[in-house]
């Protein structure tokens, strides 16, 4: 009856609008991201030992991402690392794809290997279609610092570069 027709009109116009717009929801990608047991996603995240990470550090196409909180990042982080804060408003969701645009490998680190894994998995799941490789630093920041590798302190410089935009009001 009429209610159903109105619902159909709403769904239909939504579909048309979505297809026409550039920032559309790509539901094929979204489905892959939502179903966490797709076969491509059961491959465990690679762990990278410190010495190999140190070699990767300088290559373009590699992004080092810090998954700890802002305070710890400011106290000391791997040189050239980008901060992935957990408490920034959803604007970061837009910034991350932009950061990842020219990157083949994201090396995620936290305090320990295991702490970085869920963040790495999340990153990989969201970028499954882009063929992005995500790895975790073995031993985390502790191991890196202990090995005397290059560290910096201070806020995340590349976070200032990317235009994080305004948060969305809903």
């Amino acid at each position: 009856m009429r209610t159903f027709l109105l619902a159909l009109l709403g769904a239909g116009s939504g579909l048309i609008v979505n297809t026409l717009r550039p920032d559309r929801v790509d539901w094929t990608v979204a489905i892959a991201n939502a179903t966490c047991n797709a076969t491509q996603l059961t491959v465990p995240i690679e762990t990278v030992p410190i010495n190999r990470a140190a070699a990767l550090c300088a290559s373009s196409g590699v992004l080092i991402a810090d998954a700890r909180d802002a305070e710890r990042f400011a106290q000391g982080h791997i040189a050239g690392a980008v901060h992935l804060p957990c408490s920034t408003p959803g604007a970061l969701l837009d910034a991350v794809p932009r950061l990842l645009a020219s990157v083949d490998l994201v090396l995620v680190y936290a305090d320990t290997t295991d702490a970085a894994r869920p963040v790495a998995e999340g990153l990989r799941n969201r970028n499954a279609m882009a063929g992005l490789r995500v790895a975790v630093l073995e031993g985390g920041f502790e191991a890196w610092a202990r090995a005397g590798q290059a560290c910096l302190s201070g806020p995340c410089p590349r976070c200032q570069d990317t235009d994080l935009g305004t948060s969305h009001a809903h």
């Binding site: 009429r2 109105l6 709403g10 769904a11 116009s13 408003p89 959803g90 999340g122």
Partner: protein, 149 residues
């Protein structure tokens, strides 16, 4: 016997229609702003997350259609719009209650935003809106005095 044009019921009906319609149209437009983000928010409710993109595609447009329909369409269509609005409110109510009961963290994750979190007042608000929508459905019921359709 015709009722006077400014009867209480007539005013009530108009106020409810405009109020609910305005709410839904605004809500729909705001969601249209960032569909991918909206799809993520829906998925966070952990209720059939596979459906999230489809809901994100269909819901805002439906909200706008329902809102506009409630104001501009003839009587029987208005009742249909109000019914659909009530149905959507019932779904929202279920989703929010389900998330609260299961303690699902709606705005969790390193990439989620901490937006306005849902709470008991969200449930109350949805119940009130559902009741108002049902009231409009009843007010817009076809009467024997409307002979035209």
């Amino acid at each position: 016997m015709r009722t006077r044009i400014f009867s209480f019921v007539w005013v009530l009906r108009l106020v409810l229609r405009l109020g609910l319609a305005g709410l839904f149209v605004v809500a729909g437009v705001l969601k249209l702003d960032d569909p991918s983000r909206f799809a993520l928010e829906i998925a966070n409710y952990q209720l059939f997350p596979v459906l999230a993109p489809f809901v994100a595609i269909g819901m805002p447009a439906t909200e706008i259609v329902v809102g506009l329909g409630l104001v501009f369409l003839p009587k029987l269509w208005r009742q249909a719009a109000a019914t659909l609005l009530a149905a959507m409110m019932a779904i929202f109510l279920f989703a929010v209650s389900s998330a609260l009961v299961r303690n699902v963290n709606i705005d969790c994750g390193c990439f989620g935003g901490s937006e306005s979190p849902i709470g008991p007042w969200t449930v109350v608000r949805n119940v009130v809106l559902l009741a108002l929508a049902l009231l409009v459905v009843w007010l817009e019921r076809p009467r024997r005095t409307d002979e035209r359709r």
